[in-house]
Amino acid sequence: MINKVVSNAEEALKGVTSGMEFMLGGFGLCGIPENSISELVKLGVSDLTCISNNAGVDDFGLGLLLQKRQIKKMISSYVGENDEFERQMLSGELEVDLIPQGTLAERCRATGAGIPAFFTPAGYGTEVAEGKETREFNGKMYVLEHAFNPQFAFVKAWKGDTAGNLIFKGTARNFNPMMAMAGKITVAEVEELVEVGELDPNQIHTPGIFVQRIFQGTNYEKRIEQRTVTPKS
């Protein structure tokens, strides 16, 4: 087995510089690479392009990088929960490319799967399709969308082994598996790092081939954005 383990976030982010394009897993605050984001804040790298479904909230997730003005451009599908984001976007400080969520997921998948571009019906006839090639298949119109080219992908899993195999939990899986496939260097942080042989190969979601560096994460906050419950009766 090829050992992918690094000792911490600092070592995992070696080679990260300003001006790079990153992918960051997560949906809202669910399944985000908390340790890698903290390390990016610490490194102080700037002019970043971040591909992530959301942009965190004002004081957590990618919101931490926005506060420090480290992000030049965001590529996301939904950014509704972040006032600072909206302010920077409307004032023109932040470049924003909003794209349909399914298109974002498929562009990430295509990146890792060696597919340079594909046709999707999402966004046809809207401003999302402006300037893009469109084509009719079987009487329906489709828009040509392209893969990305990120230097690093930062993902977060529930469990991982030293060979980089990953298992996700619940809806924290979301964009993480496709982004893991897409990174030139994929950094996986996990809640529980185990030896090879401890994870059942039948249950692996992301095979270790897609992961270059893996580390045991620490101090997970796992903040809940909308706590909705059924009262105990």
């Binding site: 949906f27 809202g28 605050l29 669910c30 399944g31 479904n53 996301s76 599908s77 939904y78 950014v79 509704g80 929960e81 909206e86 976007m89 409307l90 924003v96 909003l98 349909p100 969520q101 399914g102 298109t103 974002l104 997921a105 498929e106 990430c108 998948r109 999707t120 019906p121 999402a122 966004g123 046809y124 006839g125 809207t126 401003e127 999302v128 529930w158 939990k169 619940g170 809806t171 924290a172 899986r173 979301n174 964009f175 993480n176 598996p177 496709m178 979601h205 796992k222 903040r223 809940i224 954005e225 909308q226 706590r227 909705t228 419950v229 059924t230 009262p231 105990k232």
Partner: protein, 218 residues
């Protein structure tokens, strides 16, 4: 009486059919899950990667790793499944999901829908809405008939940036149930006690009223 948001959801729930997989948007659509008609089986899909979505968790059992697309903590029912975002949108684009219910800021008489952006003012993003409306066989829009300023949301043409073109076929508002065909809104039912005249006044687009329009049954 115009319908409450709960009653709009209740009326939409009557459209559910046995064995359907259904995606519910944020807001009024989410409430539809509370009114599934007796004797039918449906499963709710949440596009962040969950099929078989259940109710909110019992207080104290909520899990940060188990949320719906509105980022609310939820549960997964027995027989449910979890998957990644690419698989989730394969279900949607591949038309494995039979019905999408979502909100809108504007709907046009040709079936265009706008619900993601007010230029220069509100830019939250489209999330999964563009994928959903581009692919769903059945789309029901759940919304108020007029906006906060009292202006009609059922228009000849949308003025806001579009989410999808020519895709909406049915609308349930606080005043009426309408179908879209032949470039017009067709009035199907009215809310209890709401007159056809009131609906006409609140509808800016072309409205077709044929015969006697029944009241909704809730």
């Amino acid at each position: 009486m115009a319908l409450s948001k709960q009653e709009i959801a209740q009326r939409i729930a009557q459209e559910l059919q046995d064995k359907w997989y259904v995606n519910l948007g944020i807001g009024i659509p989410t409430l539809v899950a509370n009114y599934i008609p007796k004797g039918i089986e449906v499963e709710f899909q949440s596009e962040n990667g969950l099929l078989g979505m259940g109710p909110f968790p019992i207080e104290g059992t909520e899990d940060a790793d188990m949320i719906n697309a509105g980022k609310q903590t939820v549960t997964v029912l027995n027989g449910g499944s979890l998957f990644d975002s690419a698989t989730s949108f394969a279900m949607i684009r591949g038309q494995h999901v039979q019905l999408t219910v979502l909100g809108a800021m504007e709907v046009a008489q040709n079936g265009d829908i706008a619900n993601w952006k007010i230029p220069g003012r509100m830019v939250k993003g489209m999330g999964g809405a563009m994928d959903l409306v581009a692919s769903a066989e059945n789309i029901i829009v759940a919304m108020m008939h007029t906006n906060k300023r009292g202006e009609s949301k059922l228009l000849e043409q949308c003025s806001l940036p579009l989410t999808g073109v020519g895709c909406v076929k049915k609308i349930v508002t606080n005043l009426a149930v309408l179908e879209i065909k032949e470039n017009a809104f067709h009035l199907i039912e009215r809310a209890p006690g709401v007159s056809v005249e009131e609906i006409k006044t609140a509808t800016a687009g072309k409205l077709i009223v044929e015969g006697v329009i029944p009241e909704m049954k809730l």
